[in-house]
């Protein structure tokens, strides 16, 4: 499903090279719930950006569903993100001008390979909101929703394109314990029911403990897999 092979990433900062990833190898299977754990500056966010096709490795290979993405650029990466990936962010990143259902529809409007009618898109988005228990809040703007509700809408947005992998960057970082658990349960359900792979990037060991596997990153290298 996901395979990183000797991936290195070097940034140029203020005239100096900074190696964020020093050659990591990760393999994640289908329907696996995996946590990538690390402290600030460990390289976990860089790993997430590369896994999420938002950034490219300086060297090494990234296979997504056995497709070598290393040579892909711009629009091809965008299409691949749209088709195969779903994102959940710590700050939710919903568009404040759009209603909850419009936010959920958004990825479908960028799906050029599979054109859907607005009616079908709305129906699909409604179904996703129902899965996350937000079907009654479709017309609400993000500012009218609580943090937990916004994250549920963000999960619905990540699911609407029926991706094979969901990348979740600190998905419970801004939520209280109870809501955090609800969100985690939702993600676990998705893994079980739809066989979606979920990769959670977190610094929380508690959260990592709820995953099937945790990959620890430190100073740009993988320390251990538990």
């Amino acid at each position: 499903m996901i395979r990183l092979v000797d991936v290195k990433k070097t940034y140029r900062m203020g005239g100096n090279d900074y190696q964020a990833l020093k050659g990591i190898n990760i393999t994640v299977a289908k329907a696996e719930l995996v946590a990538i754990v690390g402290a600030s500056g460990s390289g976990k966010t860089t790993t997430m950006n590369i896994l999420g096709l938002l950034d490219k490795p300086t060297s090494g290979k990234y296979y997504l569903d056995n497709i070598d993405t290393s040579e892909f650029t711009g629009d091809k990466l965008a299409a691949l993100r749209n088709l195969r990936l779903g994102f959940i962010f710590q700050q939710y990143f919903l568009l404040p001008k759009l209603s909850a259902i419009e936010n959920v529809i958004l990825p479908l409007t960028y799906r050029h390979e599979e054109k859907m009618s607005m009616h079908d898109m709305k129906q699909r988005a409604h179904d996703m909101l129902k899965i996350v228990g937000m079907e009654k809040h479709g017309d609400h703007r993000p500012t009218e929703l609580s943090g937990g509700q916004q994250q549920r809408v963000a999960i619905a947005r990540a699911l609407v394109g029926k991706p094979s992998i969901i990348m979740a960057d600190e998905p419970t970082g801004a939520l209280d314990t109870k809501t955090s658990q609800q969100i985690m349960d939702l993600l676990k359900d998705q893994v079980e029911q739809t066989e979606t792979t979920v990769v959670i990037i977190t610094h929380s060991l508690e959260l990592a403990a709820q995953c099937q596997r945790a990959i620890h990153i430190r100073d740009g290298l993988i320390q251990e897999t538990a």
């Binding site: 990143f93 050029h112 009618s117």
Partner: protein
């Protein structure tokens, strides 16, 4: 469906920054409005000028006689006489009516009130060709011969009416001679084709003008021709006859066709100039839109990043911003067209012109505002599409 959704989203984005959108629209409105108002007014002015000639008809020709030797007005050489009219008429079968006339100046008084105006010596043909209408009385005719009768223009009539309710059969003193008013003219729409200012004139029998001033000569001749005349042929025929009759005279021809052609040519140059002037304000409006779109791109970096993360391609982002800038300028253009037409309407009302809505400035206004939208929106949209999704989301 996709278009409606893009349109709706662009509306949402524009409405979320109302003041900024309003200012961008205002810039384009002023620019497009100027172009439309200037071109539209120029066309109305031209139409007004052309209407003057069209009212009289295009089957006219006027002759202006000068001494060939000096180029000065008639002097020592043989002059055109009223008795020459018949011979001149034979010059071409296309001539229907001939109206020779004189223009002179003398001190004029109504009672003790001085009157400023021209004295036109004319025959009854003059009224037919110049299309002067009477509000009361009659026009001078061949029966009057050298009698001291006159017809007064509308402005002189207005002046006289301040002291007398009915000027008919009262008298105007011209030099030492009293002329009895036998007719009052309706206001005559001014016309460059006829050099006399009829509203500010008294019209007397042509022969009587000789009596007033012995040096008076017929320097102007108006002619009505058949419908759809061959103007060039008539000119040649008249030139031949006139050279025979008055060898030392130089004839200057004038025809509505000639003047219409001249006006049309001038208008073209004038319109180009106006377009250039209007375009400057439109360019300024376009720069305003570009500036506002650039600010919008900076402010919406996170949104752009999120859209890219969930799969928007560069072309999607480019299109989104382009639609917004085009919507701004087309809406501004629409208001500009309305504003421009309204301005030209106001101008037409105050200038007593007929008002028409011309298609060209309207279409031009829309097309140009669309082009401005594409040009001013493209660079900000291109910059937005080139943003790095990670950096954009973190901003």
């Amino acid at each position: 469906m996709e278009f409606i959704s893009s349109f709706r989203e662009a509306m949402l984005n524009l409405l979320s920054a109302k003041l900024r959108s309003f200012l961008a629209i205002l810039g384009v409105l002023v620019g497009t409005g100027s172009v439309v108002a200037l071109i539209s007014s120029s066309q109305l002015a031209t139409a007004h000028a052309l209407l003057q000639f069209k009212t009289l008809g295009t089957n006219l020709i006027s002759l202006y006689l000068r001494d060939e030797s000096t180029g000065e007005k008639s002097g020592q050489s043989k002059e055109f006489k009223l008795t020459d009219v018949e011979q001149l008429k034979k010059a071409s079968s296309q001539i229907v009516l001939i109206a020779p006339y004189t223009i002179g100046f003398q001190s004029m008084f109504y009672g003790s009130t001085p009157i400023n105006g021209q004295i036109i010596g004319a025959t009854e043909s003059f009224a037919k060709i110049a299309k002067v209408d009477l509000s009361s009385g009659r026009f001078v005719s061949y029966i009057d011969e050298r009698n001291f009768f006159c017809v007064i223009g509308a402005k002189i009539a207005d002046m006289i009416k301040k002291s007398t309710l009915n000027p008919l059969y009262t008298q105007i003193r011209v030099g030492d001679v009293f002329f009895t008013i036998v007719g009052v003219l309706k206001p005559w729409p001014e016309n460059f084709f006829i050099s006399a200012d009829i509203n500010n004139s008294i019209i007397i029998p042509l022969r009587a003008s000789y009596f007033l001033d012995k040096d008076t000569h017929i320097d102007n001749i108006l002619m009505r021709l058949i419908q759809n005349p061959n103007i060039n042929l008539v000119k040649t025929q008249i030139s031949a006859t006139m050279t025979e009759m008055l060898p030392k005279k130089k004839i200057v021809f004038n025809s509505p066709e000639q003047l219409i052609h001249l006006i049309a040519k001038q208008r073209q140059t004038y319109t180009y100039l106006l377009i250039a002037i209007g375009s400057i304000s439109l360019v300024v409006g376009g720069i305003g839109v570009m500036n506002i779109m650039l600010v919008s791109v900076v402010e919406r970096r996170r949104e752009i990043g999120i859209r890219m993360a969930i799969g928007a391609r560069q072309s999607d982002i480019l299109r989104m911003f382009l639609i917004e800038s085009i919507m701004l300028t087309v809406f501004g253009g629409f208001l500009g067209v309305v504003f421009g037409i309204f301005t030209s309407y106001i101008l037409a009302v105050f200038s007593h012109w007929h008002f028409y809505i011309y298609g060209a400035p309207v279409v031009l206004g829309f097309v140009v505002s669309l082009i401005v939208g594409i040009f001013s929106g493209f660079y900000p949209a291109w910059r937005a599409s080139k943003l790095d999704p990670i950096l954009a989301m973190l901003s």
